[in-house]
Amino acid sequence: MLCSNCGKNSARNYVKLREGKKVELVLCPECYKRLYPERDEGDFFTQFLGNTGIKKSKACPNCGTRLSDYRKTGLLGCADCYATFREELTPTVRYIQWEVRHVGKRPTSNAEEKYDFVRTLVRERDVLLAKLDEAAAEGQHALVLSIQEELDRINQKLNEEEEE
């Protein structure tokens, strides 16, 4: 299956919520990343303001969190916030933790490679489960069976992946 946007790369299924409805997308990962960056429309606007030179305090490029938000809630917005505010946060971290240098365990696995694959399967499964509910509610027995088969296939793939 080819990407419905660029028509070149091989595509995956993605699901998006649009005005409360699930929309299925057939895109390659590159196009998906470009068309649906992980942030809200509202953040796009604040970034836009930032770029036009209107004076605004620094915001995390990934999630839009500002230091003023952190000071209100005591919470950062995403992993990238720490890189964005490293300089500003370091004294706070030193005050809380006495140290600013991690010495413990670190991630070792090659999770990155498996992640996209597993996530795509989980997304496909979510879509199928919703369809299954619908088909069952409408009493479409043949459809229920075929969806069930599809689900079994996905679950098997997930298990195989995990056993590797």
Binding site: V15, K16, L17, K22, E38, D40, E41, N62, C63, T65, T73, G74, L75, L76, G77, C78, A79, Y82, A83, R86, L89, T92, V93, I96, Q97, W98, E99, V100, R101, H102, V103, G104, K105, R106, P107, T108, S109, A111, E112, K114, Y115, F117, V118, R119, V122, R123, R125, D126, L158, N159, E161, E162, E163
Partner: protein, 350 residues
């Protein structure tokens, strides 16, 4: 007076809990995720990914908090399987609980993932080992947010680094009744530890239960953190047992009277509020620890059974046990009846 003062760790250290905080690197942290227009969709994905990894480790029961009644949520919270914060985040949160109720993985609490091992007694090394097993299973296909300087990244900087919180619940009736808890807490704070009452912050000394845990999570290795807590628990246990011995020597008839009365009330009451139950149970446990009261199965076993009873007699647990949504008065009567039976089974004596 029957026996001598019990000298075991278990007579002081009631339970051990290890918790690791982890986050996905590509989803906003829960506090922000909740406000997103895709909150539901992202929460469903996160839950699905973690559940898929955990399903091969053990049998876990998945609770989506949104679909759970207040009563069912309170039940899980009283059993130490979920937190208040997880209930507050119920629009996006979930919990995966092992069938033996020892491991729980909270999803979209303050962080995306909170892995927890909770056991009776005192065994930090075992608890940590079990949590690491869960952590590695999840890490197999989920790349966690990690930074060279700050370690595992968490929504709140208080959990950075290892993301490890090691907590031990201590029964400290002698230390606390001697009025030296404040000084002890100050000493522990200086060594990088925190002490709080068992029933939440500012809950005072109810039941003489105190939770000791590491304050810092960054700049120390996991082993160093466990060692720090281990050392604190050893010191506290020694101190408590010494204070118990003093208490027994100094207490005389008044002490004996107080502890026997507690047993008398719990064995014969018709109405029992939670507050009185917690207070009297602490006295009976103290009586067993001092050897002023006895138990057919041994003092340690008696104390452990009373700890189970403390959980089983909390409001949502009573409702589950009775199969009814009882009023507070109803619960107090049910509690009395149940406790009288339980104590008669335990065969406590003086």
């Amino acid at each position: 007076m029957r026996g001598s003062v019990i000298q075991t760790f278990e007579s002081v250290a009631v339970s051990t809990r290890i918790r690791l905080a982890r986050n996905f690197k590509d989803y906003p942290f829960p506090n922000l995720l909740m406000k997103s227009s895709h909150a539901e969709e992202m929460a469903e994905e996160i839950t699905g990914l973690i559940a898929a990894e955990l399903s091969r480790v053990d049998n876990f029961v998945l609770y989506r908090m949104k679909g759970l009644s207040d009563e069912a949520a309170a039940f899980l919270k009283e059993r130490n399987l979920i937190s208040r914060e997880l209930i507050l985040n119920r629009a996006v949160s979930a919990a995966l609980v092992s069938e033996d109720e020892i491991i729980s993985v909270m999803i979209n609490e303050e962080d995306h993932i909170r892995e927890q091992y909770f056991m009776k007694g005192f065994d930090l090394a075992k608890a940590y080992e079990r949590v690491v097993g869960i952590d590695e299973a999840i890490a197999d296909s989920i790349p966690f947010a990690f930074d060279e300087d700050f370690g595992y990244l968490t929504a709140c900087p208080t959990n950075l680094g290892t993301g490890l919180r090691a907590s031990v619940m201590l029964f400290l009736p002698a230390v606390s009744r001697r009025g030296i808890m404040r000084r002890v807490a100050a000493d522990l704070t200086r060594s990088g530890l925190t002490v709080r009452g068992a029933y939440g912050e500012g809950s005072g000394t109810e039941g003489d239960l105190f939770q000791v845990s590491n304050e810092m999570t960054l700049g120390l290795s996991e082993e160093e953190i466990l060692e720090l807590v281990e050392r604190a628990v050893s010191t506290m246990t020694e101190m408590e047992i010494r204070e118990r011995e003093r208490m027994k020597v100094e207490g005389g008839m008044a002490l004996c009277d107080k502890l026997r009365r507690a047993l008398g009330v719990l064995s014969n009451c018709c109405v029992l509020s939670e507050r009185e139950f917690i207070e009297r149970t602490a006295d009976v446990k103290l009586g067993l620890a001092l050897g002023i009261l006895g138990c057919e199965q041994g003092g340690d076993a008696g104390m452990s059974a009373l700890d189970d009873l403390l959980v089983a007699m909390r409001p949502a647990n009573i409702n589950r046990l009775s199969g009814e949504a009882l009023s507070e008065e109803g619960q107090n009567e049910y509690r009395a009846q149940h406790v009288v039976h339980a104590l008669s089974d335990l065969q406590l004596y003086y």
